[in-house]
Amino acid sequence: MNKNMIITGLIIFVLAVLSPFWFNIITTIEAAPKPELLGNAKEEKKCVLEKYDMRANHPSLLDEWRDSVVRDSDRQYKAANGHTFEMSLSTGKNSCLGCHEDKAKFCDSCHTYASVDPYCWECHTNPKEIK
């Protein structure tokens, strides 16, 4: 095995590892869709977390919530801003989907863009989708 072969191998390896970047250079990048606030959510103007905190930390917040509800049987969340919410994805008016009525525009558009597929909806249901 000589030096040239090793270096060629390394170059090929580095090129392959960086392939997502090459892919993004040759394809056009769409801007990330903004979650739309519609219906109730638009009028209420208050949520469980601040906007930026929410963007960054909503998965861990939901993880915390499900432990509270299932394991500690705590179902009410009094947010830092003083408002109280139901710790639920979809049950009742005071839940996530109770306020953000359009799941497609609030959850899915971003998740699809970021190619994440949270398994919440394997069990939880969007009330709007049930005929």
Partner: protein, 274 residues
């Protein structure tokens, strides 16, 4: 020399990689502490509470019709799939035929010799023999399923309810082997095609997790009684077994009640008045 520098390089690279992995966790942990106001979690005000929930079933008030009503109320509200339900081929085109032995049930009818196999008696009065008993999870004080679960997905709440965290269950089915009452069902397949009408207020389950009666924890938290109690026309009463004044204790003081397979020491919380 060459050897040495390669090793130290690898070591530094390794430490750097660990650092990269840890930093997001550190950031998140530290971001919690500097907020001014802190969020608080709590229970609903109207929630029904008990030290240890228990159930008394008056067997003289059970009959086929009432049983069916109770079972339907429970299974409908909790999105329990019915394998006899005709699958909507448009919505679920690739559904394979069912194996009825893999069915799911939270509360169901069972005749006396099966509900109480330890009380086998060839001279058992016919009225008892043919009586359609209703069986469900016993929410045992010493629950073998809780002991067996390797992830605490099945656990005992402070109020005595034995409940499942479907998010955490790995589907090892150790709890099913442990349960001496056959109260647990496993989702051998996606249940959704077999749910006639999904109740949006309760999740369905995904394939690969175990499920069972949760004593309607979601209703108790809103101050409502379990579905079976509501549909039972007085045949089922729930209450606090630790409170001598509670309705269940008052009944137990006056009438003779038995529990399923008491010899095992599991201390079931479901009583049957004979």
């Amino acid at each position: 020399m060459m050897e040495k520098s390669r090793r130290s390089f690898l070591r530094v690279a390794g430490i750097a990689a660990i650092g990269l992995g840890v930093s997001p966790a550190m950031n998140f942990a530290s971001s919690d502490s500097n907020g001014a106001a802190v969020a608080v979690k709590g229970k609903n005000e109207q929630a029904l509470i008990a030290k240890r929930w228990g159930m008394v079933i008056d067997t003289s008030k059970l009959n086929k019709e009432i049983n069916e009503k109770m079972i339907e109320a429970c299974h409908k509200a909790h999105n329990v799939p019915d394998f006899n339900h005709e699958v909507d081929k448009g919505k679920y085109p690739k559904t394979r035929p069912v194996n009825h032995k893999q069915e799911i049930k939270w509360i169901w009818e069972e005749h006396f010799p099966y509900a109480f196999p330890d009380k086998e008696d060839e001279f058992l009065a016919e009225k008892f023999h043919d009586l359609p008993f209703l069986v469900t999870c016993n929410h045992c004080k010493n629950a073998p399923c809780v002991q067996a679960c390797p992830t605490k997905a099945t656990f005992k709440r402070e109020d005595g309810i034995v409940i499942m965290d479907f998010h955490r269950c790995i589907g090892c089915r150790f709890c099913m082997a442990a349960c001496p009452y056959g109260s647990r069902s496993f989702n051998f397949r996606d249940p959704r095609p077999f749910i006639a009408e999904t109740n949006p207020d309760f999740p369905t389950r995904s394939k690969g997790v175990v499920e069972k009666c949760n004593l309607c924890a979601e209703r108790l938290s809103k101050g409502e009684l379990p579905h079976c109690v509501e549909a039972s026309e007085g045949a089922i009463v729930v209450g606090d077994l630790e409170n001598p004044e509670s309705e269940v204790r008052v009944i137990l003081k006056e009438q003779y009640a038995i529990r399923r397979n008491e010899a095992l020491g599991t201390e079931p919380s479901v009583y049957y008045i004979m």
